[in-house]
């Protein structure tokens, strides 16, 4: 076909006996698909915006007995700030205008601490064993499949497991922990273990094989190689996965309802064997209160929880961004190098 005919679209179909493209359909389908994908993205953003907006409105315009109308927006903001401050500082009570999430926040902090102490060493250790110490074997495939499946198990099932295993100690009095922080932490640790294992495995796989060989060829033991080269190189990936996993644990409510988080606790938790409650659990019970003024309290709690989780996720993203820009690690984090 000559160049001249390319300049005359009208003549194409008559000039080419072998191809007859459906031009009209193409002109519709191509942009249509683009818009379908755009709306799929947009939908998610709209829902997130709606949730955040609804929560903010509920905090700015309190419902129930204390509701006042006709106040300027500036005053509403200072009211809302005062409300949030009160929610952080105060303990639960009977009056909706008095209650706060102090006990839940402290409980969540205890859970956070013990989940990190339990889940990170176990998860990273398991990932190291699977990636660095076992070759390809049926046993590894089996374990790997199980871990992937565990990541998909509903959290309420972990709650039941934690109830039987940790709180009741399988029926043995001496093993039963009772409804304490430790039982809750162990349950949440089990819940996020698969997340940490899989994230760590991904991070380890991204470390180039040539780095391992270089270390071993110098007469290093596997432990020295892992400690000085593998873990530092994989650390950003491990940290990102860990933060995402832990932030999931902090937001969980269902398993904690099973392992004895208290509906309303007046005493601040002081140790791992104390009774506890958590921020999402308190929100859950406040939202269930028939008194409408409690819904503002619940909304305020949700705002606190969202701030906490978004901050953690922001840190995870920040760490990932920062390392992918660092010259020394950039290549090794993005692609496998060497054989």
């Amino acid at each position: 076909m000559s160049v001249k005919s390319l300049n005359k679209p009208a003549n194409w179909s008559s000039a080419d006996p072998h191809f007859r493209p459906n031009r009209r359909r193409r002109a519709i389908m191509d942009p249509l698909f683009r818009w379908v994908c755009f709306f799929a993205t947009f939908l998610g953003v709209v829902f997130l915006g709606t949730v955040l907006g609804a929560v903010f409105l509920r905090v700015l315009y309190p419902a129930g007995a204390g509701a006042k109308s006709g106040i300027p927006l500036g005053e509403r903001f200072s009211d809302a700030c005062a409300l949030l401050r009160r929610l952080v500082v105060n303990k639960p009570g009977i009056e909706a205008s008095e209650v706060g999430y102090r006990v839940g926040l402290v409980g969540s902090a205890w859970l956070l601490l013990f989940v990190i102490l339990i889940a990170v060493p176990v998860g990273v250790g398991a990932a190291l064993y699977l990636e660095e110490y076992t070759g390809k074997s049926r046993w590894k495939t089996l374990v790997q499949t199980n871990i992937a499946n565990l990541a998909g198990v509903p959290s309420i099932v972990y709650g039941l497991l934690g109830l039987t295993l940790f709180q009741r100690g399988l029926g043995f009095k001496s093993l039963a922990l009772g409804p304490c922080v430790l039982a809750g932490s162990l349950t949440l640790s089990l819940l996020i273990l698969p997340v940490i294992v899989i994230a760590t495995q991904e991070a380890l796989r991204a470390v180039p094989q040539s780095l391992r060989l270089a270390a071993l060829a110098l007469g290093a033991t596997r432990w020295q190689m892992i400690r000085d080269h593998l873990l530092p190189t994989a650390a950003p990936g491990i940290l990102t996965g860990t933060i995402l996993g832990v932030s999931r644990a902090i937001g969980e409510t269902a398993p904690l309802l099973m392992v004895g988080a208290a509906a309303s606790l007046l005493k601040v938790t002081r140790g791992p064997l104390d009774r506890y409650t958590a921020l999402p659990v308190e929100i859950f019970y406040n939202a269930k209160e028939p008194d409408e003024s409690f819904s503002t309290v619940a909304a305020g709690g949700i705002l606190l929880l969202l701030c906490l989780l978004l901050t953690m996720n922001f840190f995870a993203i920040w760490i990932r961004q920062r390392t992918s820009k660092r010259p020394g690690l950039a290549g090794s984090m993005r692609t496998k190098r060497g054989g």
């Binding site: 060989l213 270390a215 060829a217 007469g219 290093a220 020295q224 000085d228």
Partner: protein, 273 residues
């Protein structure tokens, strides 16, 4: 359990031979990679392993420092001797072997650490007792890299050029005081000038170390080595699969000017391979 002493003091009657294989065969799963390899690597000389792709040169090289242990499903038959120690003995401490028999890889692979720590790390983990600064300088000087990097020892080793990186890797190997240096196509990723620098370095290191080099480049083998082993794929094996064998092992001059094996002659003159 006492692991055999790997120091050269125990070297015994074969003091001129550092590494020796006897009827060595290597299998990857069911398929055989090397068959009946018997060669002796002489001390303070450069031995080149040449041959067509896939004939098992690198596999043979990795046998000498047990790097093949890292490959799942690989099986070795026959014996490998380091002085008078059987390297395949289950009592041998692999970590000690790898310190005595260092390795430089095809692609420069410095640690993502400072130039200083690239050298110091190997010495540190092996319990080096002396002055670390002095060791780093000595190794970098020995690898002809000191003048180029002395002002930026705290910079990342990955910022050096390819040729400098490869010399850094050699310097890193020297820091743990090996007796043998195995080089797996050390110049294949380098430009001609860097290649010449590494070749000069090898010539210089020969006085203190025994070097075994795998190379695809016959000119390089001819330039640098004293002994050359030409590996070939042998088709006359009953399994019907081609297996690597040593076609000829002789002094480099003789192998390239007057080869006894017809396959070697065909390979070095470029008719096969």
């Amino acid at each position: 359990m006492a692991s055999p002493d790997l120091s050269p003091a125990n070297s015994g009657p074969h003091s001129n031979t550092v590494l020796r294989t006897e009827s060595l065969s290597v299998f990857y799963g069911d398929s055989q990679a090397l068959s009946d390899i018997t060669i002796a690597i002489p001390q303070n000389q450069i031995t080149a392993l040449i041959g067509p792709s896939g004939c098992g040169k690198s596999t043979l090289l990795r046998c000498f420092n047990r790097m093949n242990d890292l490959i799942a499903g690989l099986r070795i038959e026959g014996q490998i001797w380091f002085h008078e120690h059987d390297l395949m003995d289950s009592a041998v401490d692999v970590v000690a072997v790898r310190r005595r028999i260092g390795m430089v890889f095809q692609k420069p692979n410095p640690f993502p650490k400072s130039i200083y720590n690239n050298i110091a790390w190997g010495a540190k983990i092996n319990g080096f007792l002396g002055d670390m600064d002095e060791l780093v300088e000595r190794c970098l000087r020995r690898a002809a890299l000191w003048d180029e990097v002395k002002d930026k020892l705290d910079k990342s080793g990955e910022q050096l050029s390819g040729g400098q990186q490869q010399r850094l890797c050699i310097a890193r190997t020297l820091a743990v005081e090996p007796e043998v240096i195995l080089m797996d196509e050390p110049c294949s990723a380098l430009d001609p000038i860097s290649t010449a620098a590494v070749e000069d370095l090898m010539e210089d290191l020969k006085a203190d170390y025994t070097i075994v080099i795998v190379t695809h480049n016959m000119q390089q083998a001819r330039r640098v080595s004293d002994m050359t082993a030409c590996l070939m794929l042998d088709a006359n094996v009953s399994q019907g699969r081609r297996v690597g064998v040593v076609a000829e092992f002789s002094p480099t001059d003789k192998l390239f000017t007057n080869p006894t094996d017809p396959r070697t002659e065909a390979y070095i003159t470029g008719r096969i391979g």
